[in-house]
Structure formats: structure tokens, C-alpha cells
Symmetry: C2
Subunit: 206 residues, 2 copies
């Protein structure tokens, strides 16, 4: 699949509880960027205060399955009876404007994107240790022990997939991790494969 | 050739007059880095105020050719009757300490290093335009017109070799260019190929 190449597609991913959301927020709070967050589509009912088009695009199950058949998702998954997915058209729209589109998605979704898009940048967020991930899941305090154990078991499977990513960023410190991701974005833009066309154009001038 | 992998070897290169030296200085003036500049060896006589081991290692022609035979240079060249080269042992010494070693060298030298070292990072400094390079060479005011023309002709040949580098950084602004290089260094450290060993070790722990 060929996405528009004016902007960069950045996939931030990693096991549940690793701090993807916190890092993403820290990233967006940084200055001088043109990052845009890709809003997911879901069949889940909106929670209180959730706004359609901001938190999620809320659509019907019928509409979602139609979009799956039409291959309109970059990635999607079913989770506790609801669908969640990344709409290709919204992502393309932002890339065409020259924005950097950030996906913050599960490992399974990231590997779906990897198969479809060659020139996206894949960043795996790793906890500083297994123990710290376990503690984070416990401290969330919102989930029961069997849910926590299930998530740790899933994390174990996901840990083994880190080698499929371009970068591994350890979440030892949120600001530090966000800084690293910003550095990765800047560096990716300077890569020869991405700069060579403009460079050639410059050379064609007098 | 296998260099020690604790530190990173960063090769900053590009046509004469493009501002490699200025960018390198701006880079070293930045905070929180462990960059070390690789001091070259030369058979040229020291100029006034030049210090042995700081500006260059000044050695005899006999010693230099002996070192060439012993394969002790990462790259070397003869220039206006004098030899200039990057001593491998000094570079390795710094990499073993975990420092980032910065080489600021000519295009020809960079391509010699490229053939010898796989995991170094190669950055081509490009002028914002051909015209700007020409103006820079004229404004240096130290060189005669035939020397300038000769350098422009050499630059034309070197322009065509940019695709052999990992990154192309346009010197539109010195601080901006130095910032980009620092971002590249941070990003390179986060690359999966460089982090996977430590990551695996982390996973082996409880």
C-alpha cells in the first residue's frame, strides 16, 4: 500500500500498561511539531465526556464491518466485543497536508500496519523491566488480578515481537522517551531515501 | 572491520566549503553529549598556535607511510603534498570508553570508512544550493579564483555521491543542522539493531 509521502506515519506501540498513552501525550505537548494524532474508529458506545471525532469516531457495527470488507482500515481488532480500527482515509488526509500522523496502537495492530505500509516508522515502547510493567498494571488499580495476569501473559508474547520494529524506546522516563521519539522523527526525515528527491531537485538548479 | 560497539562512529562529510567545520563546532557546543572529535594525523608542519594532539597529531612522512602499510588508518589522503589520516587506534580507544566519535572528513575519506566499517553513521552535509556553496567559497576570501573553480568542480563530483550516505543534512542554518545531527545520533542509538541485546538481557531478568 502506498500512503502519501509528504508526511510521516509514526507507529507507537508496545504492551498494554507500558505507558504508550502517557508518552504520546508528552510528545504532543512538545513545541514546534506538526504531529497529528490518528483518531480511531470504534463500535463501542461513547463514554461520558467522550466526543465523536476527537476521542473516537463512533460508528455502528454494520458500518464497521462494511468498512472492513472495503479494506478501509490500516489495522483493526475486536476487543471485548467491540471493534477498534484506524481509518486509512483520515490518515491519508493528514499525510497529504504534510503532517506527521501518530498511531498509538496495540502490537497486533502495528504488525498489521507493518505488512501494509513500507515507509512508516515503527517504535516499540519497552518497560525498563518486566517487574515495572507488572507494578504499573497493579497501580492502575482499576483492574482485577486475573485481568492483570492476562495482560502480563499477553505482554510476554508481545515482548518477543520487538525485533520487528525499527526502534526500541525504553520508557524509563516519560519526557526522555518522548524526546527520543521526537529525535527519531527528525532523523527519519533526514534519511537519504527521504531527502534524495529534494536534493536532486536542488542540484538541477543553477 | 569491527570497531568496538560501545560508542557510535559518526562521519560528517561533504564538499569543501559546505560548512562541515562550523557545524561540527556547533555540535560540540551543545549540552549533554559525550561526543569526541577524532584528531587526525598529518605530515604537514604545525602552524603557529597549533597543538600536537589537539589540532593534529604531527608525525613524520616516514612514520605515516609505515602506518599506511600496517593498515592503521581508517582513511587517509594526500593533499597538496601532505598526508592526512584518521588513526584507528585512537578512534577505538574512544569508542571503548562509550564515547561518540565524530569524524569530520572529506567525501573520499568517508567512502573509505564506509567500505571498512558497517555500523558507522554517514551524514552528508549539503549546501542549500549550488550558488550558496560558490558564494561561501568566494567569501572565504582566502583563495584564488582558480582554486575556487577547482573546488567547485570537485564539489560537483562529490554531490553525486550523496546517495551513498545514510543521511543528508542541508546546511541552511548551522544550529538547525547541528540539532538535526544530534537527533540522528539519538535516533541511531534507539535503533532495534543497537538496542536488541540490552533489551534481551532485560527480558532474561525476572
Amino acid at each position: 500500500m502506498k500512503l502519501n509521502k509528504n508526511g510521516l506515519l509514526i507507529v507507537i506501540s508496545g504492551p498494554s500498561g507500558v505507558g504508550k498513552g502517557t508518552i504520546r501525550k508528552a510528545l504532543f505537548e512538545m513545541k514546534n511539531h506538526n504531529l497529528v494524532y490518528s483518531v480511531s474508529m470504534t463500535t463501542r458506545k461513547p463514554r461520558e465526556n467522550e466526543i465523536d471525532g476527537v476521542d473516537y469516531f463512533f460508528i455502528s457495527r454494520e458500518e464497521f464491518t462494511k468498512r472492513i470488507k472495503e479494506n478501509k482500515f490500516l489495522e483493526y481488532a475486536e476487543f471485548v466485543g467491540n471493534y477498534y480500527g484506524t481509518p486509512i482515509d483520515k490518515v491519508n488526509e493528514q499525510l497529504e497536508k504534510g503532517n506527521e500522523v501518530v498511531l498509538e496502537i496495540e502490537v497486533d495492530g502495528a504488525l498489521q500496519v507493518r505488512k501494509k505500509v513500507n515507509d512508516a516508522v515503527f517504535i516499540f515502547i519497552s518497560p525498563p523491566s518486566r517487574k515495572s510493567l507488572h507494578e504499573r498494571l497493579i497501580n492502575r488499580n482499576t483492574e482485577k488480578i486475573d485481568v492483570i495476569n492476562e495482560r502480563m501473559a499477553k505482554a510476554e508474547r508481545e515482548f518477543k515481537l520487538a525485533y520487528k520494529y525499527d526502534y526500541i524506546v525504553v520508557n524509563d522516563d516519560v519526557v526522555n522517551a518522548a524526546d527520543k521519539i521526537m529525535a527519531i522523527i527528525r532523523a527519519e526525515h533526514a534519511k537519504t531515501q527521504r531527502t534524495i528527491n529534494n536534493y536532486q531537485k536542488m542540484l538541477e538548479e543553477d
